[in-house]
């Protein structure tokens, strides 16, 4: 039994009886226990729940019933997605012991499909960060080099999937938080179109930018997981009621004539030369497969970072106002409620969260709204227009996912601005609300993964999956295993 099996193999194994669901999940937990001391991908484990569910599925299969489409597939869930009965902390002291009384929509979908939740994964606190170093509960290691960061904010899920601790995972992406860790950990990460997947149960960071999405080792698994979580949910007013296409059917390899836009602003200065080279090589391979490259310009790229770092903190400052020690979470007691709230929030939030709340509060405050938040929202219109207009003349836009490969722990933590620069390639997709996917396209000389990103038209995840699948099927990057953990396979 291969700890790195994909969804199809897991399904074959369990339907044929070769590996039962219970056997597999048992092996997974053993693997998790071996790898955790080095990686610390998880904040809490779901041993009992997973074993119970596994047993039920095995019985169901023996009784001849069709198990769900993800039956027995081990999944890692980012700890900002509410899971009923399972601690959900958003990697914050504020929610250290908090147990939700309800499931988020995507978790309901997972449970219904038969997937087994392995555990809740580490992340940057309240999804604010690009390295998972802003977690209140320790850092996570990169499966390819445990001294390095897995990226963020969905670093725990990326590490878990990249190291085989789970087959698939859910992350969330506000400025790149699925794609960037996917790139740094050598896996596939997809940020769906805003409104494609329900945010009900996702602990909000910046509502107009947040999306939940799949993180997997292969494009096929990504398509399969997206199929399960995408679609209308009446509990999220921003979730669009559009039919969900068959994403697996999009994996037809047909990219002849595909027009790939290459924006000048995303290459050159500010991009690590090895990253630049790997991405260009990958694009050339797509040309060999019949695609066309076109030079394009996304003129408002220089303004993206600033617009994002005004909009996201502003919305966050409001979304995090509910953490006041009154109904749940941490409370630091005091004489009067104002003092209690103020002290609770000071004790419960880490420095990056506080910084963004302050920045956001300032950007919205009286007299500053027009200059900051108002301006950023207008810049956003221009960024979105650039992308949507460009996607009329090309089918997808290709860029590096992260400007640099994984850095060492502690390398960028003293300078917030240096950390923010990790998002320069991913932010525009969130501002524009368009779908974007990252996949592995090579390694640095020191063996660190490099990610290739595609942006697509709104609600056209199929196109992204198609081109990514076409690239993946012509390469074998995705078959490599991190040496540090591969040696541990049973």
């Amino acid at each position: 039994m291969d700890i790195f099996s994909d969804i199809a193999t897991i399904r074959e194994d369990l339907l044929s009886g070769r590996v039962t669901v219970t056997e597999r999940i048992g092996a997974v937990f053993e693997h998790v226990d071996r790898v955790e001391p080095r990686l610390h991908s998880f904040l809490s484990m779901n041993r009992e729940g997973a074993l119970e569910a596994a047993d039920a599925i095995d019985q169901s299969i023996r009784a001849g019933r069709d198990p769900g489409v993800l039956a027995g597939v081990p999944v890692a869930v980012k700890d900002n997605l509410a899971t009923r009965g399972l601690r959900t902390t958003a990697a914050s002291k504020m929610l250290e012991g908090y147990v939700p009384v309800y499931d988020s929509h995507v978790v309901e979908q997972l449970r219904d499909s038969g997937a087994l939740i392995v555990g809740k994964t580490n992340m940057d606190e309240f999804a604010m960060g690009s390295s998972t170093e802003n977690s209140a509960f320790g850092v996570t290691g990169n499966p390819w080099d445990a001294q390095r960061v897995p990226g963020g904010s969905s670093g725990g899920t990326a590490a878990a999937v990249g190291s085989g601790q789970a087959c698939i995972g859910l992350g969330s992406d506000t400025g790149g938080s699925i794609r960037q860790p996917a790139a740094l950990c050598g896996i596939v990460g997809l940020k769906p179109t805003w409104g494609r997947v329900s945010r009900y149960g996702l602990i909000a960071f910046a509502s107009s930018l947040d999306q939940v999405g799949p993180m997997t080792r292969t494009v096929r698994d990504c398509a399969q997981l997206l199929q399960v979580i995408a679609g209308y949910d009446s509990r999220d007013s921003t979730c669009v009621d559009l039919p969900v296409p068959d994403y697996l059917e999009a994996l037809d390899g047909d990219i002849k004539g595909l027009r790939i836009g290459v924006p000048a602003e995303y290459f050159g200065d500010g991009i690590d030369p090895e990253v630049d080279a790997a991405v260009r090589t990958a694009l050339q391979q797509l040309v060999d497969a019949g695609a066309h490259l076109e030079s394009i310009s996304l003129a408002h790229t220089p303004y993206c970072l600033s617009a994002y770092y005004l909009i996201a903190p502003a919305e966050a400052s409001s979304n995090l106002a509910r953490y006041d020690g009154v109904r749940y979470g941490l409370r630091v007691d005091d004489e009067d409620v104002n003092a209690m709230i103020t002290k609770t929030r000071a004790a419960g939030f880490g420095p990056e969260v506080k910084r963004r709340i302050m920045l956001g509060t300032y950007a919205l405050s009286a007299g500053y709204y027009d200059a900051f938040y108002g301006t950023a929202q207008r810049v956003r219109t221009l960024v979105r227009q650039d992308i949507v207009d460009t996607l009329k003349t090309v089918d997808v836009i290709a860029t590096p996912t992260s400007p640099v490969p994984a850095c060492n722990h502690g390398e960028r933590t003293s300078d917030p601005l240096a950390m923010y620069l990790m998002d320069i390639c991913t932010i525009s997709a969130n501002l524009a609300g368009v779908p974007a996917l990252s996949q592995l396209c090579g390694f640095t000389r020191s063996g660190l993964p490099i990610g290739l990103q595609f942006l697509g038209r709104p609600f056209d995840e199929e196109q992204l999956l198609r081109v990514a699948h076409a690239y993946e099927s012509r390469t074998d990057w995705h078959q490599r295993r991190p040496a540090e953990v591969a040696g541990d396979k049973p």
Binding site: Y303, R327, M340, K354, R355, V379, R380
Partner: protein
């Protein structure tokens, strides 16, 4: 601390911290002044753009807000509602006294 243009003063920081209900120590406030000024300075590029006749984007989804029928749905039991309460009395949430 950088010597860039000063956008925010220590008084601003104190005022914003009050608005945001964050008790910052003096040291934290000092550090915050520098960090916020650096961040705001990095955004000065926005001032070079004329966006006066551009509409702001509040939402990137192409639809109006959906409506829900006026039908009562089951509420949580009061014990579920209070399950995570730091302090409760009977079925009420308890907080230190509210002044003013």
């Amino acid at each position: 601390m950088s010597d860039t243009q000063s956008h925010i003063s220590i008084d601003d920081v104190a005022r914003i911290a009050r608005l945001a209900r964050l008790a910052l120590t003096e040291a934290e406030q000092e550090a915050m002044v520098g960090q916020l000024n650096d961040i705001l300075e990095s955004m000065s590029v926005l001032r070079t753009l004329d966006v006066s006749d551009v509409e702001p984007t509040a939402h990137v989804a192409p639809i109006p807000t959906p409506l829900r029928p006026d039908v009562v749905r089951e509420s949580l039991s009061s014990s579920e509602a209070l399950q995570e309460a730091p302090q409760k009395a009977d079925t009420s949430f308890v907080v230190p006294k509210i002044v003013g």
